[in-house]
Amino acid sequence: MMTLDTGRIFEARNLDYDYPGNIAALRQINLTIGPGELVALLGANGSGKSTLLKLLDGLIFPSRGEVLAFGQPLSEKSLRDGPFVLEFRRRVGLVFQDPDVQLFSSTVWDEVTFGPLQLRIPKDEVVSRGSDALKLLNIAHLRERPPYRLSSGEKKKVALASVLSLHPQVLLLDEPTTGLDPWSQGNLIDFLIDWADEGKSLVFSTQDLDTVEELASRVIVLGTDHILVADGRPEEFLSDPDFLLRTNLVHEHSHRHKELVHRHQHLHDHHH
């Protein structure tokens, strides 16, 4: 009987991952994530952020090294253990970057109740969890809609709701704010901050440095050479323009309004 240690969340030890055809995706990743941490996963496109999230969710397995969740290794073998899988899938939820991949059911209601039903939760509770998840994200009116009649913002909410109905302890989110308008982004961030109370853990990948500031207590940066280049508090790295440029997190001509990371002079006609 594999027991879960809920005091430990994720560990990666000397983790390597290759894409099919022996193309390097991740090299020598070592990290530990504990309860209550809000971790931002940063890196340019192609740096392996989605891959790492999928590894943490036990959907793919390392080429070398290992990934542990709640103290137990995540491997093809361990995920054949019925009770362990049930517990693991219940506690960890992954929201994919492309909501169309996650919205595979015929209606929003079917989608939101899919997880709890698969986890053998009794019918009555499935119904109440489904309703609660929809209410939580203000999408109860979308209940009977089929996915092709949802806007992209609505799809993202349904995707999140369908994971929340699992009542997970850990949320993994792959670029949750990408494609959202600023108002929705702000809403989502507020929601996640509320959700993360009481010891829940969050790991989210993003390209948006502003989101990192508002939400993350810790930052992990994947470099362009597939290794982990930074792991620590946001302030340590995000005010270092050279670092940001080196890791392709900003462009020479970009600037942010939170902190002055201008690299070149140009005229503004508005005030900071």
Binding site: L86, Q102, L117
Partner: protein, 272 residues
């Protein structure tokens, strides 16, 4: 081969499908007679009547059934124009065209002589009429079902009728992703058309089409992998675990009685 024709035809094909899906869905929500019936009852009724139509031997019976169909459409708030368009356009007209030679070719008693040599036989006229009416009636029942029953309920009804849950699960998911792929492909067509000045040769169109199809196939393959991971991530183990919202009411029993009575009457008259 003018590129305008080729692209536009395909675009309008796709657009037409997408629109008819949406309009069908809206009609399912109208407060009509058939909309209020249980999906299982409707599916069974439709199959029953198509078989009755298949066993009929006389034109008056098939004509009476058509009147019944129109009445049901009216009572279910289906706009007459839309209904007639869906049940008469294409297949019945196509059938009528196919049936024309039968007027002359079927051996039997002469009915009408066209010119000096060409004879339309009684048997020919009757067989053409039987075919066209039979095809129209059968098709119309299918249309009534689709316009008054929500897709998820049709799936639930199939499950209840013991159609293997594997098939039903695939059926549901296929439909969902057909709509996604149609959107994707339509965008490809529209983009191509907007970039095309003048007409392209048949060869250029074919090459482009091959690429579009190949890309779509690869996308389907990619999606299938990702969807599987998304399902796994929420604990996927079994097909057919869906909250079934179907329940029989008094109207359903009344309808079953009516349908059986009508079918019996028609079959009895058929024997005479």
């Amino acid at each position: 081969m003018k590129s305008e024709g080729f692209l536009s035809r395909n675009i309008s094909n796709i657009t037409h499908i997408l629109e008819s899906v949406i309009s069908a869905e809206d009609l399912c929500r109208a407060p009509g007679l058939l909309q209020g019936l249980d999906a299982r009852v409707k599916v069974a009724t439709v199959v029953l009547f198509i078989v009755v139509v298949g066993l009929a031997r006389s034109l008056p019976i098939l004509g009476a059934v058509f009147v019944l169909i129109l009445a049901l459409g009216l009572l279910s708030r289906i706009p007459l124009g839309l209904f007639l368009k869906r049940i008469l356009i294409f297949i019945p007209i196509f059938t009528a065209v196919i049936a024309i030679p039968a007027l002359f070719v079927t051996p039997g008693e002469p009915l009408v002589t066209v010119g000096t040599k060409v004879i339309i036989t009684e048997q020919g006229a009757r067989t053409a009429g039987l075919l066209v009416l039979r095809v129209t009636d059968s098709l119309s029942f299918g249309v009534l079902l689709i316009l008054t029953t929500r897709w998820t309920n049709i799936l639930a009804a199939l499950r209840w009728f013991r159609v293997p849950s594997l098939f039903v699960a695939i059926l549901g998911m296929t439909y969902r992703y057909i709509l996604l792929l149609l959107h994707t492909v339509n965008s490809m067509f529209l983009a191509r058309r907007s970039r095309t000045l003048g007409s392209l040769s048949g060869g250029e169109n074919r090459r482009w089409l091959a690429q579009a199809l190949g890309t779509t196939m690869a996308k389907s393959h990619h999606l299938s992998e990702e969807v599987y991971l998304a399902m796994l991530s929420r604990g996927y183990r079994d097909d057919g675990l869906v909250l079934n919202g179907l329940s029989l009411r008094r109207w359903d029993f009344l309808w079953v009685a009516f349908a059986l009575a009508a079918a019996s009457l028609l079959l009895w008259i058929n024997q005479l």
